[in-house]
């Protein structure tokens, strides 16, 4: 594995391998006074974020630091990007400075692919070798989020294969949903997308999942449910009449949670908009896996860095 750009690049064995590594890393650090592994000593990891983020950026930074990599954070605000530097020039600059891994978040779908392409071309001529990790590109993919969701589901349900997982809400603008559908299907789960027709992307019928518009009808048969954030910042039109109407139709209220099988985990990629897609009482209930997702995120990202950077260069 040289880059992690899309979960479509992972087959079941590769994905399971990453999840197993994440479990082992979690186990290795459990109860330790010194949460530091020497594995990536001397490796440099740069996070390049063109969009705001709390958990993903911090999670990658912690993951790198716990494995002794040097981590550096670059955000579009406060860098040469605000002087008009292109994505290509910025990313090639970072590679040339010796970044072994660039973790990129960008509002344009496909940005990580482009950077990986430039990195591979430069590798041929300059001998630098830079791995690229997609930390979210537009409405396309967010592979490490899908991996940490799968890790959390595996932890809570024992296995992912054969389970029925509902993904609810703003699928149209959600890279999390796309990555999750692909990864969960690869791992053998049955995925149901539940959303109003206006918030489903064109071509969703070709995804490896079932589509429904009736949340209440689906809840009793789900093993777990994943609520998506309503991405107001990407909405420039009337996708639904009002926030209140959305919450009534597709928000996970306490009454709706009662329709789920007992102890069925509720996931949310964060940041949560309480009262919109998820009721505060549900978000704080024992079934809520939100904080477990965040915890697992660090170990999953350690696993990704381990697989990309620890072994011999390909």
């Amino acid at each position: 594995m040289r880059h992690l750009l899309s979960v479509a690049d992972l087959d079941a064995a590769a994905a399971t391998g990453l999840l197993d590594t994440a479990d082992r890393l979690k186990q290795a650090l459990l109860g330790r006074e010194v949460r530091k592994l020497p594995t990536l000593r001397g490796r440099t990891v740069v996070t390049l974020f063109y969009e705001d983020s709390t958990r993903t950026r911090v999670s990658f930074e912690i993951a790198g630091k716990w494995m002794s990599a040097d981590t550096i954070n670059v955000s579009a605000k406060g860098s040469s990007v605000s002087k008009g530097e292109s994505l290509r020039d910025t990313s090639r600059t970072l590679s040339s400075m010796g970044a072994d891994c660039v973790i990129v978040r960008h509002p344009a779908s496909g940005a990580a692919h482009r950077i990986a392409g430039w990195a591979d071309r430069d590798a041929g001529t300059t001998g630098t070798s830079t791995s690229v990790v997609n930390a979210g590109d537009g409405t396309h993919e967010h592979p490490t989020q899908a991996l940490l969701d799968a890790a959390t589901l595996r932890e809570r349900l024992g296995s992912v294969a054969g389970r029925r997982i509902g993904i609810v809400g703003d699928v149209l603008h959600s890279r999390v949903a796309r990555s999750n559908v692909l990864l969960l299907a690869t791992l053998g789960a049955e995925v149901v997308l539940i959303a109003p027709p206006t918030l489903l992307p064109v071509g969703v019928r070709e995804w490896p999942c079932r589509v429904s518009h009736e949340l209440d009808a689906e809840l009793p048969a789900l093993d777990a449910v994943m609520m998506l954030r309503v991405q107001a910042e990407r909405m420039h039109g009337g996708f639904f009449p009002s926030a209140r109407e959305y919450a009534v139709g597709y928000g996970l209220s306490e009454a709706r949670q009662a329709l789920l099988p007992e102890n069925a985990p509720v996931l949310h990629p964060g940041p949560m908009v309480r009262g919109m897609e998820i009721a505060p009482a549900v978000a704080d209930s024992p079934s809520s896996a939100v904080l477990a997702q965040v915890r697992n995120g660090v170990h999953v990202r350690m696993a990704v860095l381990y697989h990309l950077l620890a072994g011999a260069p390909e």
């Binding site: 391998g17 197993d20 186990q27 990309l308 620890a310």
Partner: protein
């Protein structure tokens, strides 16, 4: 597992030879258990003091068997667990990223305990060094000792075992295979001649050829 290799021109030796039978393995583990009890003066009075940590995969199995034997002979049960040294290896960059194994440090931790590291084969000593480094991040044992089923020589670091099941002089090109019922279906220790093989693979313990064998 070693596949049978073509016999060489002399045909004098079979390519895979058994060094220890199943009964020998059992006897050897029992002997090491007795030695550990004697050397550490282990018994019900200081049962809390001893921690056996196996290096996966087969070292972890051996640690569990040793713990069972020690319990049987001394009447006190030592703590037993495993410590994966992969993340501390010095040869990670030499091959594709490898899968990690179980790390399970017993509840009481290792602080101020006598830790006996257990592995199947001792060769270069690099795995032991990695395990020592891993152990340092787990805590501060009172002392650390090393028990191995087979010592085959070719040390590349100043490391020696406190308990050795069997010393086996080997050539670098030869491979030692430790088979344990829990993992391989039966117990045995075998030696395989591996002509032309540059990197002998020994049980689960993989070794890097020393940069210069001088």
């Amino acid at each position: 597992m070693a596949t049978a290799r073509r016999g060489d021109a002399e045909g004098a030796q079979p390519p895979v030879r058994e060094l220890l039978s199943a009964a020998d393995v059992t006897r050897t583990i029992a002997r090491i258990a007795h030695q550990i009890i004697e050397k550490t003066a282990f018994g019900p009075a200081n049962a809390e003091d001893l921690v056996l940590l196996g290096i996966p995969t087969r070292g972890a199995i051996l640690a569990r068997r040793l713990a069972a034997a020690i319990t049987e002979f001394s009447g006190a049960a030592p703590a037993v667990g495993s410590v994966d040294a992969t993340l501390y290896r010095d040869d990670l960059r030499r091959r594709p990223a490898r899968a990690l194994e179980d790390t399970a440090v017993p509840e009481g931790g290792v602080d101020d305990k006598l830790v006996v590291l257990v592995d199947d084969v001792l060769m270069s000593g690099r795995t032991t060094r990695a395990a020592l480094d891993a152990l340092r991040d787990e805590g501060r044992p009172r002392a650390v000792q090393l028990a191995v089923l087979v010592d085959r020589g070719h040390r590349e670091l100043p490391i020696r075992a406190d308990y050795v099941g069997k010393n086996v002089p080997t050539a670098r090109a030869e491979a030692i295979h430790v088979l344990l019922a829990e993992h391989d279906g039966r117990d045995a220790v075998q030696i395989a001649r591996a002509p032309g093989e540059e990197r002998p693979v020994v049980g689960d313990t993989e070794f890097t050829e020393g940069a210069d064998p001088a």
